[in-house]
């Protein structure tokens, strides 16, 4: 009786073992990387379909309309607020009055039927983010929303994962700016970033080291 296995069997077995081990290790690595990937966090995703192809690039960037003009409660409450149709119509009853692109806006205004936007920056319901305190402590809009003034269609620029939040909550200094610059998309500090940041931390009375405890965001 001859041997059970041909020499090729060893090659196959070894290939199989290597494949199995790499698959196991690879899938762990993949899973971890995948969770961080843009695909999961939604960064740079295809901008969600909106009823009106609103361009922040045009309004905020080219026309220079301040964020607070539309997002009125960004400094007063937890939510920045989406502009009521009325706000759109303050201008668009004068200009582009017949633009087909704006038909849904006019329709909404006429029917009292709100525009149905799709959220770009959506946080899970167990995260209690507040716009007002971040604005009050000199965190610029751009910190989380990215260069919105360059977005023709709005997409998510930052991952908005807990990791993203913690980066800043652990070391807020480099992310701070003077309060009057929060809506400025292109602000950059004159001088030592580090020093300015630390001065601002002191000035704003930020409780460094306490911003990472759970109840700051979860309750």
């Amino acid at each position: 009786m001859g041997p059970i296995f041909s020499p090729a069997a060893d090659t196959w077995l070894r290939l199989f073992l290597i494949a199995a081990v790499s698959l196991a290790a690879g899938s762990v690595v993949f899973a971890v990387r995948f969770a961080h990937s843009d695909w999961v966090t939604g960064v740079f995703n295809h901008p969600p379909a909106q009823p009106v192809p609103f361009s922040h690039k045009h309004h905020a960037g080219e026309l220079g309309i301040d964020c607070g003009f539309c997002h009125t409660s960004f400094a007063q409450g937890p939510r920045a607020g989406l502009p009521p149709t009325h706000t759109c119509m303050t201008c668009h009853s004068q200009i582009w009055t017949g633009a087909p692109m704006l038909a849904p806006v006019r329709q909404s205004f006429a029917d009292n039927n709100p525009l149905k936007w799709n959220r770009v920056a959506l946080l899970p319901d167990y995260v209690f983010f507040r716009h007002d305190i971040h604005i009050a402590k000199g965190v610029g809009c751009v910190a989380c929303h990215g260069r919105i003034d360059r977005m023709a269609l709005t997409y998510r620029a930052k991952a908005l994962t807990m990791e993203f939040c913690l980066d800043c909550h652990r070391d807020p200094a480099p992310h701070l700016r003077p309060k009057n610059q929060v809506t400025n998309m292109s602000w950059s500090p004159h001088g030592d970033r580090e020093k300015i940041g630390h001065e601002l931390v002191k000035q704003y009375g930020i409780r460094e080291g306490q911003l990472t405890n759970c109840f700051v965001c979860h309750r």
Binding site: G2, P3, I4, F5, S6, A9, D10, L166
Partner: protein
Amino acid sequence: MAKREYFGLLAEFETPEALLAATERARKAGYRELDTFTPFPVYEVFPVLRLRDRRVLWLGLFGGIFGFCLALGMQMFTNWDYPINVGGRPLYPLSAFMVVGFELTVLFAALTPAIGMLALNGLPRLHHPVFTAPRFYRASRDRFFLCVLASDGKFDPRKTRDFLRDLKPNSVELVENV
């Protein structure tokens, strides 16, 4: 070059004692590339064959040290990376870390020699020349084989066979390299 054709010569014995005696004689006869195939470990032949490889044990030691460092490092790092006040306990409670430390020590100290043993033995190896020997199947049953490998400087298919025959084995087979 001719030796490449052969793997070696197998001599079959009835008892471990006979094998041991034969091995000793082969060794004395100047054969250095010897191996035995036995159904259970016959510890007495190891010194005769000059088997002194202790790398498996070293692997175990290094595995253990690695496991312990990994455990301690992991636990210290995670608490350093995100320090959280847990019930007023110390941030780096070494006594509490010892448990996982011990477990990982054992885990790696066990895995490295086990895998190392297989690797050093060249396993898995499903196909091997000795398996072609018709009587070899008894090496795992009740027979004790002495093998003079063809790589031995003194190996000569005919002469070595004669030598082995002198040892009074049950049989002697020439194993070809396939």
